[in-house]
């Protein structure tokens, strides 16, 4: 880097080559943050596996009961939280009843964070949804796939009460629910074990209930075999899957704007690489001539 001995006589290109990294940092920060403020709708084709998840919910009649299992922790928030919000939006918009649970200790808390976000929507606020009638949070129960298995006989074996301590028999929404027979669809958000794999093996295979899932980008490809056999309706993979779902839902939200940030940031890096190379070559040309 110290090719120029005389500091004052730096040309434009030389200055550009040894640009302060903080300027690059600033560009990245702006490229990431600004798109977050604009709820930009970025058009992306919706892949079939995502469309299938959308169709699975769309097909349900109003009043159908959907069980949503939150099997992740804050570490996977950037990827899975937008999916959780979209799931809720979709369910509430179609007047479905939502039962929330979690196989990971922090899962049901993530559900509450997502609910808070979704209730800010005007159309959903207008519905004036009631806890216990339109949705319920059962909380976390330890036991991994054993929990899934027991719920196949009776939810009360795993969840005698909801997360607030109210017995299930006193919750209007849960009165008609004994086991998976009374559930029309299970949605699962998973970042590992226990997760989608266990739901397929212990709920779908044994009790024949319909399942759709959202996974981290790392995990999603290993779910494709289950989709092929019909054990899993579809899967949303990573931030991109979440974004496509939002587009299918025609309600672009976090994942789409995240994707926008993502694309802009990549573009900025590539632009910097190009500028760096132009500077490098013009300088070399000057030296050789």
């Amino acid at each position: 880097m110290n090719e120029t001995t005389n500091q004052e006589k730096k040309t434009f290109w030389e200055k550009l080559l040894s640009i302060d990294r903080r300027i690059i940092f600033l560009f990245i920060a702006v490229a990431i943050s600004v798109p977050l403020f604009f709820k930009t709708s970025l058009d992306m084709p919706v892949s079939p596996v995502v469309q299938e998840v959308y169709n699975a919910i769309e097909k349900l009649e109003a009043g159908s009961k959907v069980l949503v299992s939150f099997d992740y922790d804050p570490g996977s928030m950037p990827e899975l939280q937008p999916m959780a919000e979209s799931f809720f939006r979709h369910c509430f918009r179609n007047n479905l009843k939502v039962i929330i649970m979690g196989l990971w200790p922090q899962g049901p808390l993530q559900a509450n964070i997502a609910l808070d976000q979704v209730f800010k929507d005007e159309d959903i606020k207008a519905k004036n949804l009631q806890y216990g009638i339109d949705y319920v949070n059962l909380g976390f129960t330890a036991g991994n796939e054993v929990v899934i298995d027991r719920m196949g006989h009776d939810f009360r074996e795993s969840y005698p009460a909801d997360s607030r301590g109210t017995p299930l028999s006193e919750i209007p929404l849960m009165r008609g629910v004994r086991n998976y027979d009374n559930i029309d669809l299970i949605l699962n958000l998973s970042a590992g074990y226990p997760g989608t794999m266990e739901w397929v093996q212990y709920a779908v295979d044994v009790f024949h209930v319909k399942l759709a899932a959202g996974n981290t980008a790392v995990q999603a490809p290993s779910m494709y075999p289950y989709i092929q056999t019909g054990q899993l309706a579809g899967v949303l993979g990573g931030m991109k899957g979440g974004a496509e779902y939002e587009i299918a839902l025609k309600r672009p939200a976090k994942a789409v704007s995240y994707m926008f940030s993502q694309a802009i940031a990549h573009g900025v890096i590539c632009l910097f690489i190009i500028i760096g190379n132009i500077a490098f070559f013009s300088l070399r040309k000057k030296k050789t001539s």
Partner: protein
């Protein structure tokens, strides 16, 4: 005793582990040794903690530059340890609602995630500096990184939409991952395997003994 016992112990344990790989009933030894390893690590952490307290305590005692930060280290350590061991419900210390969980979520997690997120900035500055077409090798590095970076976001789709399907940036990125990248990775992995195997043999034969030399 000082020199021989460790060398013989290393050799015996090492050879046992190799043989256990081929003889299934010995597998139980493998698990046992691993458990012992964890127990040793659980004891050894006291050495680490003692060292941490000594280094920072020294700073405070000598009122060295930045001694206040040393105090913060020790204070942070003591608070979370006492809370985690005594006031967070024993083995279920990580459950939501415990004080330990609160500290994890609101102090530890933000710090850790932010430190991790700094990578986004450093990736940018490193690629600006390193990806210059100085020679053939650097050009290859640059091109592969460029195609992969663009091929995985919608920008890549837009700028290569005029090409027939199967020949766009995303497809080129997939091909690079599947073939040249896999080839290079395989060469590195096979090399590492040989390096590991020969190091392991050197350790077992007692030739490599940085851990027990001297005196």
């Amino acid at each position: 005793m000082r020199r021989e016992v460790p060398l013989i112990l290393t050799a015996i344990v090492g050879i046992t582990m190799i043989i256990a790989h081929f003889i299934p009933p010995l597998n139980i030894l493998k698990n046992l040794f691993e458990d012992w390893f964890f127990i040793i690590a659980a004891f050894a952490i006291y050495l680490g903690i003692l060292n941490l307290i000594l280094v920072n305590g020294d700073k405070i005692y000598k009122k060295q530059k930045g001694w206040l930060f040393g105090a913060v280290v020790i204070l942070g350590f003591l608070v979370i340890t006492i809370i985690g061991i005594f006031f967070s419900g024993g083995k279920s210390f990580q459950d939501p609602g415990t004080p330990f969980y609160y500290i994890y979520m609101n102090l530890y997690y933000p710090l850790s995630a932010t430190m991790f997120a700094l990578l986004a900035f450093f990736v940018a500055s490193a690629s600006y500096r390193a990806f210059r077409a100085r020679n053939v090798e650097a050009t290859m590095l640059l091109l592969a990184a460029f195609i992969l970076m663009l091929g995985r976001v919608p920008i890549g789709e837009w700028i290569s939409a005029w090409l027939p399907e199967g020949y766009r940036l995303g497809d080129a990125a997939d091909w690079i991952m599947d073939f040249p990248m896999t080839a290079g990775q395989k060469a590195i992995m096979i090399g590492i395997a040989l390096g590991v195997v020969s190091s392991a043999l050197r350790v077992i034969l007692g030739l490599e003994r940085a851990y027990s030399a001297g005196e």
